[in-house]
Protein backbone atom coordinates (compact mmCIF):
# COMPACT_ATOMS: atom_id res chain seq x y z
CA UNK A 1 0.00 0.00 0.00
CA UNK A 2 1.30 3.45 -0.91
CA UNK A 3 1.84 6.31 1.55
CA UNK A 4 -1.10 8.17 -0.06
CA UNK A 5 -3.39 5.22 0.64
CA UNK A 6 -2.20 5.05 4.26
CA UNK A 7 -3.04 8.74 4.80
CA UNK A 8 -6.50 8.22 3.24
CA UNK A 9 -7.01 5.12 5.40
CA UNK A 10 -6.12 6.93 8.65
CA UNK A 11 -8.26 10.00 7.82
CA UNK A 12 -11.18 7.72 6.87
CA UNK A 13 -10.90 5.75 10.12
CA UNK A 14 -10.85 8.95 12.22
CA UNK A 15 -13.75 10.42 10.27
CA UNK A 16 -15.82 7.25 10.60
CA UNK A 17 -15.13 7.20 14.35
CA UNK A 18 -16.11 10.87 14.68
CA UNK A 19 -19.36 10.29 12.74
CA UNK A 20 -20.18 7.22 14.84
CA UNK A 21 -19.57 8.92 18.20
CA UNK A 22 -21.19 12.20 17.11
CA UNK A 23 -24.39 10.59 15.84
CA UNK A 24 -24.73 8.37 18.94
CA UNK A 25 -24.19 11.38 21.24
CA UNK A 26 -26.90 13.28 19.37
CA UNK A 27 -29.29 10.32 19.77
CA UNK A 28 -28.55 10.23 23.54
CA UNK A 29 -29.32 13.96 23.80
CA UNK A 30 -32.60 13.69 21.85
CA UNK A 31 -33.77 10.76 24.00
CA UNK A 32 -32.72 12.60 27.20
CA UNK A 33 -34.65 15.71 26.07
CA UNK A 34 -37.71 13.58 25.25
CA UNK A 35 -37.59 12.22 28.81
CA UNK A 36 -37.38 15.76 30.17
CA UNK A 37 -33.76 15.45 31.31
CA UNK A 38 -31.09 18.13 31.16
CA UNK A 39 -28.38 17.93 28.43
CA UNK A 40 -26.23 14.88 29.16
CA UNK A 41 -22.96 15.68 27.37
CA UNK A 42 -23.55 18.35 24.70
CA UNK A 43 -24.47 21.90 25.87
CA UNK A 44 -26.90 22.27 22.98
CA UNK A 45 -29.04 25.07 24.55
CA UNK A 46 -25.93 27.30 24.47
CA UNK A 47 -25.15 26.27 20.91
CA UNK A 48 -28.75 27.02 19.86
CA UNK A 49 -28.72 30.48 21.43
CA UNK A 50 -25.34 31.22 19.78
CA UNK A 51 -26.80 30.31 16.38
CA UNK A 52 -29.82 32.55 17.07
CA UNK A 53 -27.68 35.56 18.00
CA UNK A 54 -25.22 35.36 15.09
CA UNK A 55 -26.16 36.31 11.56
CA UNK A 56 -24.85 34.86 8.28
CA UNK A 57 -22.58 37.85 7.65
CA UNK A 58 -20.79 37.64 11.03
CA UNK A 59 -17.06 37.09 10.62
CA UNK A 60 -17.05 34.05 12.92
CA UNK A 61 -19.82 32.40 10.90
CA UNK A 62 -17.82 33.12 7.72
CA UNK A 63 -14.74 31.62 9.35
CA UNK A 64 -16.68 28.42 10.13
CA UNK A 65 -18.05 28.32 6.56
CA UNK A 66 -14.51 28.81 5.25
CA UNK A 67 -13.41 25.89 7.42
CA UNK A 68 -16.16 23.72 5.90
CA UNK A 69 -15.05 24.63 2.37
CA UNK A 70 -11.38 23.89 3.16
CA UNK A 71 -12.31 20.57 4.81
CA UNK A 72 -14.47 19.64 1.81
CA UNK A 73 -11.63 20.42 -0.59
CA UNK A 74 -9.20 18.39 1.54
CA UNK A 75 -11.53 15.38 1.40
CA UNK A 76 -11.82 15.73 -2.38
CA UNK A 77 -8.04 15.98 -2.74
CA UNK A 78 -7.65 12.83 -0.63
CA UNK A 79 -10.27 11.04 -2.71
CA UNK A 80 -8.84 11.97 -6.10
CA UNK A 81 -5.08 12.22 -5.69
CA UNK A 82 -3.26 9.38 -7.35
CA UNK A 83 0.23 9.53 -5.88
CA UNK A 84 2.94 7.10 -6.91
CA UNK A 85 1.70 3.68 -8.00
CA UNK A 86 2.29 0.74 -5.65
CA UNK A 87 3.03 -1.48 -8.64
CA UNK A 88 3.67 -1.17 -12.37
CA UNK A 89 1.85 -3.30 -14.93
CA UNK A 90 3.96 -5.62 -17.07
CA UNK A 91 3.00 -6.77 -20.58
CA UNK A 92 0.49 -9.58 -20.38
CA UNK A 93 1.35 -12.89 -22.04
CA UNK A 94 -1.55 -15.12 -21.09
CA UNK A 95 -5.26 -14.47 -20.56
CA UNK A 96 -6.50 -13.99 -17.02
CA UNK A 97 -3.02 -13.42 -15.64
CA UNK A 98 -2.05 -9.86 -14.70
CA UNK A 99 1.61 -9.42 -13.97
CA UNK A 100 2.93 -6.42 -12.10
CA UNK A 101 6.21 -5.37 -10.53
CA UNK A 102 6.22 -3.54 -7.21
CA UNK A 103 7.44 0.04 -7.61
CA UNK A 104 9.85 -0.16 -4.68
CA UNK A 105 11.52 -3.28 -6.02
CA UNK A 106 11.78 -1.71 -9.50
CA UNK A 107 13.45 1.34 -7.93
CA UNK A 108 15.87 -0.93 -6.07
CA UNK A 109 16.57 -2.92 -9.20
CA UNK A 110 17.27 0.22 -11.28
CA UNK A 111 19.56 1.60 -8.57
CA UNK A 112 21.49 -1.68 -8.54
CA UNK A 113 21.78 -1.66 -12.35
CA UNK A 114 23.07 1.93 -12.32
CA UNK A 115 25.51 1.26 -9.46
CA UNK A 116 27.09 -1.60 -11.42
CA UNK A 117 28.27 0.78 -14.13
CA UNK A 118 32.01 1.39 -14.05
CA UNK A 119 32.80 4.71 -12.41
CA UNK A 120 29.61 4.82 -10.35
CA UNK A 121 30.05 4.72 -6.60
CA UNK A 122 26.37 4.44 -5.71
CA UNK A 123 22.89 5.22 -7.01
CA UNK A 124 19.30 5.68 -5.95
CA UNK A 125 16.18 5.57 -8.12
CA UNK A 126 12.63 6.82 -7.92
CA UNK A 127 9.84 5.74 -10.23
CA UNK A 128 6.56 7.55 -10.93
CA UNK A 129 3.84 6.50 -13.40
CA UNK A 130 5.80 7.62 -16.47
CA UNK A 131 9.34 8.45 -15.41
CA UNK A 132 12.23 6.58 -13.87
CA UNK A 133 14.71 8.95 -12.28
CA UNK A 134 18.16 7.77 -11.24
CA UNK A 135 20.57 9.78 -9.11
CA UNK A 136 24.06 8.33 -9.53
CA UNK A 137 27.21 9.34 -7.67
CA UNK A 138 30.38 9.16 -9.73
CA UNK A 139 33.88 8.56 -8.40
CA UNK A 140 36.17 11.60 -8.39
CA UNK A 141 37.47 11.34 -11.96
CA UNK A 142 34.75 9.78 -14.00
CA UNK A 143 35.15 8.71 -17.61
CA UNK A 144 33.38 10.77 -20.29
CA UNK A 145 30.16 9.20 -21.56
CA UNK A 146 29.34 7.74 -18.17
CA UNK A 147 25.84 9.24 -18.26
CA UNK A 148 25.09 7.32 -21.47
CA UNK A 149 26.39 4.13 -19.88
CA UNK A 150 24.16 4.58 -16.81
CA UNK A 151 21.19 5.40 -19.04
CA UNK A 152 21.85 2.33 -21.12
CA UNK A 153 22.05 0.13 -18.01
CA UNK A 154 18.79 1.58 -16.65
CA UNK A 155 17.04 1.19 -20.02
CA UNK A 156 18.30 -2.38 -20.29
CA UNK A 157 16.86 -3.19 -16.87
CA UNK A 158 13.53 -1.56 -17.74
CA UNK A 159 13.39 -3.49 -21.03
CA UNK A 160 14.07 -6.76 -19.22
CA UNK A 161 11.11 -6.04 -16.93
CA UNK A 162 8.76 -5.68 -19.93
CA UNK A 163 6.67 -2.83 -18.58
CA UNK A 164 3.30 -2.33 -20.26
CA UNK A 165 3.87 1.41 -20.59
CA UNK A 166 7.18 2.74 -21.88
CA UNK A 167 8.92 4.83 -19.28
CA UNK A 168 11.06 7.94 -19.69
CA UNK A 169 14.43 7.76 -17.99
CA UNK A 170 16.29 10.61 -16.40
CA UNK A 171 19.79 10.25 -15.03
CA UNK A 172 21.38 12.85 -12.75
CA UNK A 173 25.06 12.54 -11.97
CA UNK A 174 26.76 14.02 -8.93
CA UNK A 175 30.38 13.73 -7.99
CA UNK A 176 30.98 11.75 -4.84
CA UNK A 177 32.41 13.84 -2.03
CA UNK A 178 35.95 12.49 -1.53
CA UNK A 179 36.89 14.63 1.46
Amino acid sequence: MTAANWVTRVVSALLALALLIGSLLAVVEIVAAALGRAPALIPYPEWTSWLRTHSWNDWIVNAVLGGLVVLGLLFLVLAFRRGKPASLALRSRSGGVDVTASRRSVEKSLATAAARTTGIAGASASVSRRTARVDARTVARSEPGIREEVESAVRGRLDSLGLERRMRTRVDLTMKDTR
Binding site: A13, A16, L17, T48, L51, F80, A101, S102, L161
Partner: protein, 192 residues
Protein backbone atom coordinates in the same frame (compact mmCIF):
# COMPACT_ATOMS: atom_id res chain seq x y z
CA UNK B 1 -5.89 -4.35 4.11
CA UNK B 2 -8.10 -4.48 1.07
CA UNK B 3 -8.44 -2.65 -2.22
CA UNK B 4 -12.20 -2.61 -1.56
CA UNK B 5 -11.52 -0.31 1.42
CA UNK B 6 -9.63 2.07 -0.89
CA UNK B 7 -12.59 2.27 -3.28
CA UNK B 8 -15.09 2.79 -0.42
CA UNK B 9 -12.86 5.47 1.16
CA UNK B 10 -12.67 7.37 -2.12
CA UNK B 11 -16.44 7.23 -2.63
CA UNK B 12 -17.33 8.29 0.95
CA UNK B 13 -14.69 11.04 1.02
CA UNK B 14 -16.00 12.36 -2.31
CA UNK B 15 -19.60 12.43 -1.01
CA UNK B 16 -18.60 14.09 2.29
CA UNK B 17 -16.27 16.52 0.49
CA UNK B 18 -19.03 17.60 -1.91
CA UNK B 19 -21.54 17.97 0.95
CA UNK B 20 -19.15 20.16 2.97
CA UNK B 21 -18.24 22.18 -0.10
CA UNK B 22 -21.94 22.71 -0.93
CA UNK B 23 -22.82 23.65 2.67
CA UNK B 24 -19.88 26.06 2.97
CA UNK B 25 -20.45 27.54 -0.50
CA UNK B 26 -24.19 28.10 0.03
CA UNK B 27 -23.50 29.65 3.43
CA UNK B 28 -20.97 32.03 1.87
CA UNK B 29 -23.42 32.90 -0.89
CA UNK B 30 -26.02 33.70 1.75
CA UNK B 31 -23.57 35.82 3.76
CA UNK B 32 -22.55 37.96 0.75
CA UNK B 33 -26.20 38.59 -0.14
CA UNK B 34 -26.47 36.33 -3.18
CA UNK B 35 -30.01 35.39 -2.04
CA UNK B 36 -30.95 38.98 -1.10
CA UNK B 37 -29.09 41.58 0.94
CA UNK B 38 -31.49 41.31 3.87
CA UNK B 39 -31.01 37.55 4.21
CA UNK B 40 -27.33 38.09 5.00
CA UNK B 41 -28.39 39.72 8.27
CA UNK B 42 -30.73 36.86 9.27
CA UNK B 43 -29.62 34.76 12.25
CA UNK B 44 -28.03 31.41 11.29
CA UNK B 45 -30.83 29.63 13.16
CA UNK B 46 -33.96 31.54 12.18
CA UNK B 47 -37.19 31.57 14.17
CA UNK B 48 -39.01 29.48 11.52
CA UNK B 49 -36.38 26.77 11.61
CA UNK B 50 -36.08 26.61 15.41
CA UNK B 51 -39.86 26.41 15.89
CA UNK B 52 -40.41 23.89 13.07
CA UNK B 53 -40.35 20.79 15.38
CA UNK B 54 -42.95 22.37 17.72
CA UNK B 55 -46.21 20.48 17.34
CA UNK B 56 -44.53 17.83 15.19
CA UNK B 57 -43.63 15.04 17.66
CA UNK B 58 -42.50 12.77 14.80
CA UNK B 59 -39.71 15.21 13.82
CA UNK B 60 -37.15 14.29 16.51
CA UNK B 61 -37.81 10.55 16.11
CA UNK B 62 -37.18 10.91 12.39
CA UNK B 63 -33.90 12.67 13.26
CA UNK B 64 -33.05 9.79 15.64
CA UNK B 65 -33.70 7.34 12.79
CA UNK B 66 -31.40 9.25 10.42
CA UNK B 67 -28.70 9.53 13.11
CA UNK B 68 -28.85 5.79 13.82
CA UNK B 69 -28.53 5.11 10.10
CA UNK B 70 -25.46 7.39 9.97
CA UNK B 71 -24.03 5.58 13.04
CA UNK B 72 -24.49 2.16 11.39
CA UNK B 73 -22.93 3.35 8.11
CA UNK B 74 -20.03 4.95 10.03
CA UNK B 75 -19.47 1.68 11.93
CA UNK B 76 -19.43 -0.29 8.66
CA UNK B 77 -17.02 2.25 7.18
CA UNK B 78 -14.78 1.91 10.25
CA UNK B 79 -14.81 -1.89 10.03
CA UNK B 80 -13.89 -1.71 6.33
CA UNK B 81 -10.56 -0.14 7.33
CA UNK B 82 -9.44 -3.23 9.24
CA UNK B 83 -11.18 -5.95 7.28
CA UNK B 84 -9.11 -7.87 4.75
CA UNK B 85 -10.86 -9.30 1.69
CA UNK B 86 -8.91 -12.55 1.83
CA UNK B 87 -10.83 -15.78 1.46
CA UNK B 88 -10.10 -18.73 3.73
CA UNK B 89 -12.27 -21.31 1.91
CA UNK B 90 -13.19 -21.91 -1.70
CA UNK B 91 -16.50 -23.54 -2.48
CA UNK B 92 -15.91 -25.97 -5.36
CA UNK B 93 -19.36 -27.57 -5.24
CA UNK B 94 -20.67 -28.27 -8.72
CA UNK B 95 -23.92 -30.00 -7.76
CA UNK B 96 -25.21 -29.62 -4.18
CA UNK B 97 -27.23 -32.87 -4.46
CA UNK B 98 -23.99 -34.84 -4.83
CA UNK B 99 -22.43 -33.17 -1.79
CA UNK B 100 -20.33 -30.13 -1.00
CA UNK B 101 -16.67 -29.65 -1.83
CA UNK B 102 -14.67 -27.01 0.00
CA UNK B 103 -11.01 -26.24 -0.53
CA UNK B 104 -9.04 -24.55 2.24
CA UNK B 105 -7.38 -21.55 0.62
CA UNK B 106 -4.22 -22.10 2.69
CA UNK B 107 -3.79 -25.60 1.21
CA UNK B 108 -3.89 -24.05 -2.25
CA UNK B 109 -1.69 -21.07 -1.44
CA UNK B 110 0.92 -23.19 0.37
CA UNK B 111 1.20 -25.44 -2.69
CA UNK B 112 1.51 -22.40 -4.96
CA UNK B 113 4.17 -20.81 -2.74
CA UNK B 114 6.20 -24.05 -2.61
CA UNK B 115 6.08 -24.46 -6.38
CA UNK B 116 7.09 -20.83 -6.96
CA UNK B 117 9.99 -21.19 -4.54
CA UNK B 118 11.29 -24.09 -6.66
CA UNK B 119 11.97 -21.73 -9.56
CA UNK B 120 15.58 -20.56 -9.85
CA UNK B 121 15.94 -16.92 -8.81
CA UNK B 122 12.82 -16.84 -6.63
CA UNK B 123 13.80 -16.03 -3.05
CA UNK B 124 10.37 -15.71 -1.46
CA UNK B 125 6.74 -16.27 -2.45
CA UNK B 126 3.42 -15.37 -0.80
CA UNK B 127 0.01 -16.31 -2.16
CA UNK B 128 -3.53 -15.28 -1.12
CA UNK B 129 -7.00 -15.72 -2.51
CA UNK B 130 -9.00 -12.48 -2.49
CA UNK B 131 -12.67 -11.77 -2.92
CA UNK B 132 -13.00 -8.31 -4.44
CA UNK B 133 -14.86 -7.95 -7.74
CA UNK B 134 -14.94 -11.75 -7.93
CA UNK B 135 -12.39 -14.23 -6.71
CA UNK B 136 -8.79 -13.97 -7.74
CA UNK B 137 -5.42 -15.17 -6.54
CA UNK B 138 -2.55 -12.83 -5.76
CA UNK B 139 0.97 -14.22 -5.89
CA UNK B 140 3.82 -12.03 -4.66
CA UNK B 141 7.24 -13.24 -5.74
CA UNK B 142 10.57 -11.80 -4.63
CA UNK B 143 13.41 -12.30 -7.06
CA UNK B 144 17.15 -12.38 -6.58
CA UNK B 145 19.02 -9.63 -8.37
CA UNK B 146 20.53 -12.23 -10.70
CA UNK B 147 17.17 -13.82 -11.59
CA UNK B 148 16.18 -14.18 -15.25
CA UNK B 149 12.88 -12.29 -15.24
CA UNK B 150 11.67 -13.74 -18.53
CA UNK B 151 12.34 -17.32 -17.44
CA UNK B 152 10.73 -16.78 -14.03
CA UNK B 153 7.63 -15.24 -15.64
CA UNK B 154 7.31 -18.07 -18.15
CA UNK B 155 7.51 -20.72 -15.45
CA UNK B 156 5.14 -18.87 -13.14
CA UNK B 157 2.53 -18.37 -15.86
CA UNK B 158 2.91 -21.75 -17.61
CA UNK B 159 3.42 -24.00 -14.60
CA UNK B 160 2.42 -22.40 -11.29
CA UNK B 161 -0.69 -20.63 -12.59
CA UNK B 162 -1.71 -23.72 -14.60
CA UNK B 163 -1.47 -25.92 -11.50
CA UNK B 164 -3.35 -23.37 -9.39
CA UNK B 165 -6.17 -23.33 -11.94
CA UNK B 166 -6.21 -27.13 -11.99
CA UNK B 167 -6.51 -27.05 -8.19
CA UNK B 168 -9.57 -24.82 -8.21
CA UNK B 169 -11.03 -26.53 -11.27
CA UNK B 170 -11.35 -23.30 -13.21
CA UNK B 171 -9.15 -22.87 -16.32
CA UNK B 172 -9.86 -19.14 -16.34
CA UNK B 173 -9.34 -18.40 -12.62
CA UNK B 174 -7.95 -14.84 -12.55
CA UNK B 175 -4.45 -14.51 -11.14
CA UNK B 176 -2.32 -11.47 -10.38
CA UNK B 177 1.42 -11.99 -10.09
CA UNK B 178 3.41 -9.26 -8.40
CA UNK B 179 7.10 -9.53 -9.12
CA UNK B 180 9.61 -7.91 -6.82
CA UNK B 181 12.86 -7.88 -8.75
CA UNK B 182 16.07 -7.18 -6.89
CA UNK B 183 14.39 -7.73 -3.54
CA UNK B 184 17.41 -9.70 -2.29
CA UNK B 185 20.89 -10.44 -3.59
CA UNK B 186 21.18 -14.04 -2.53
CA UNK B 187 18.47 -16.70 -2.66
CA UNK B 188 17.30 -17.91 0.76
CA UNK B 189 17.03 -21.48 -0.48
CA UNK B 190 20.01 -23.31 -1.88
CA UNK B 191 20.53 -26.75 -3.35
CA UNK B 192 22.79 -28.85 -1.14
Amino acid sequence: MSSRANVINRVVLTVLGLLLLAAGGLGFALSVGAFGASRATYPVLSQEVSTFPDGRPWFWWAVVGVLLLIAVLALLWLLTQVKADRTTRLDLTTNARDGYTTLHATALTNAVEDEALGIAGVTSATANVHEHRGRHALLRVELADSADMGEVRTRLEDEVVAHLREGVGDPHFPVTIELRPGASRTPQRSII
